[in-house]
Amino acid sequence: MFRLLCLLLLLALPAQGEEVVAGLSQDSVQITTNFDGSEILIFGAVKRAAPLPDGPPLQVIVTVEGPTAPITIRRKDKRFGIWVNNAAVEVDEAPSYYAVATSAPWEDVILDIEDLRHRVSIDRAIRAVGLEREDGADFIEALIRIKESQNAYLNAFGAVEISEETLFKTSIKLPANLTEGDYTARFYLTRGGEVLDVHETSIDVSKVGMEQFLFNLSRQQPLIYGLMSLAIAIFAGWAASAVFRYIRL
């Protein structure tokens, strides 16, 4: 794969500045019955027309983002002696999964203004504009904390390896509890914190086989799905009863 990329590099037409050429070890993830997570190897190269420029070293940021959806964050408060869901904040858009891998500590790879523009960091990827509450930030913090504890959000600063300021690679872990949908892998090329180039590619995460069949059936033919579930339950109940009776006789 690396050889192929090097070839691509050589064949590449002269380009302005520096650009990313990247690939993934897999462009689709299949959720099967015994799916318990996956790891995607991400690699690429920097295509440049001119010789290596002087100045700050080249840095790479790789992000993988799952499908986004609005999400409600609730806080429990003590009311009448018990802990109940009380205050709530709604976030317009939060990714179901988000991973950030960088080639150096965060401050060295991207300027805050660039992060704001490209929405690279986890905080910025969560679109929470106009939170009505003063303590809204606490809720966002809690969202990130909970997602991190589920391995759904992860920061891997320094996990991208760069060699010769040209080739880079990293791997990103996808947890077992994965939501279906289109995932996006993004590559940011930076120098001195300024983003030089952005490249995007998608990863298709979908259920296959029995998982897919059952999921689709439950959404498209819910009545048949429900009846099937009942039939299985009644058959299992009868079978156990019959078997035990046979054993005892």
Partner: protein, 318 residues
Amino acid sequence: MGVEKWSKAGVKKVMQIYLPIAEVSVNAFLLLGLGGMVGVLSGMFGVGGGFLMTPLLFFIGIPPAVAVATEANQIVASSFSGVLAHLRRKSVDLRMGTVLLIGGLVGAALGVQLFNTLKAMGQVDLLVKLCYVVFLGIIGGLMFLESLNAIIKTRSGKPPARKRHNWIHNLPFKMKFRTSGLYISVIPPVIVGVFVGILAAIMGVGGGFIMVPAMIYLLGMPTKVVIGTSLFQIIFVTGFTTLLHATTNFTVDVVLAVLLLVGGVIGAQIGTRIGAKLPAEQLRILLAGMVLLVCGKLAFDLLVIPSELYSLGKAGGH
């Protein structure tokens, strides 16, 4: 490029199963074990076992909405298995069961409505837990005291007297229930049925833990008939609840249900046989003890400051 096939670390993979509706990956043996354990209790006491299983499913990370709906489906299996054993022993009052069932279906429909409304408000967890604490507390406490009294009376030589007549027996629409040896109004059993149906839908339980004491203390049915009859009613009410959840919430996970019910039906068969050998009072005091235990644990969780104050939920009317 292309698709990667995962085949390494085979042992671990065999145990982990990805649930298509719950969208989580869990250990298959854990689910089989939980199902079996709860199944034994289900057969012994004539309760669906849902009041134990649903909180256990929350605990292992199944989303509450999926746990409640799937548990209803699993209860169908364990109750059906249990009721067959009771039918052979002729300890099912089909007539009483049908009257309870009519109420139960109405209750289940109301319960699913309430469940969906509260889910949108983010208060479904609280409602479920409060229901557990209140009902388990009252019923467990009452049953414990009563069984204790009965055991003391038996020890002191007097036969335990069943109260045959109270105000309930003076209501209109009387009906003869031969198997139970009762001639009472249909109003109380219908009301009991509605109530149990609501709980079945909200709490992901069969409602046996409410119905069994209600039948004994409110309707005055003999203990031996009560268990089979409650199982009979539970099959249909939880079956109906499963269909309602499957068609309105899409939260029935059939893979999860199968894993739970394989353990559950086997456990229920064993439990029914244990139950038949134990004296009624001891059976009741055991059930009371267990009900109080679950109640205590849930109450404790509500009172003690949670380790994570925040929780995430889908926004909007999902």
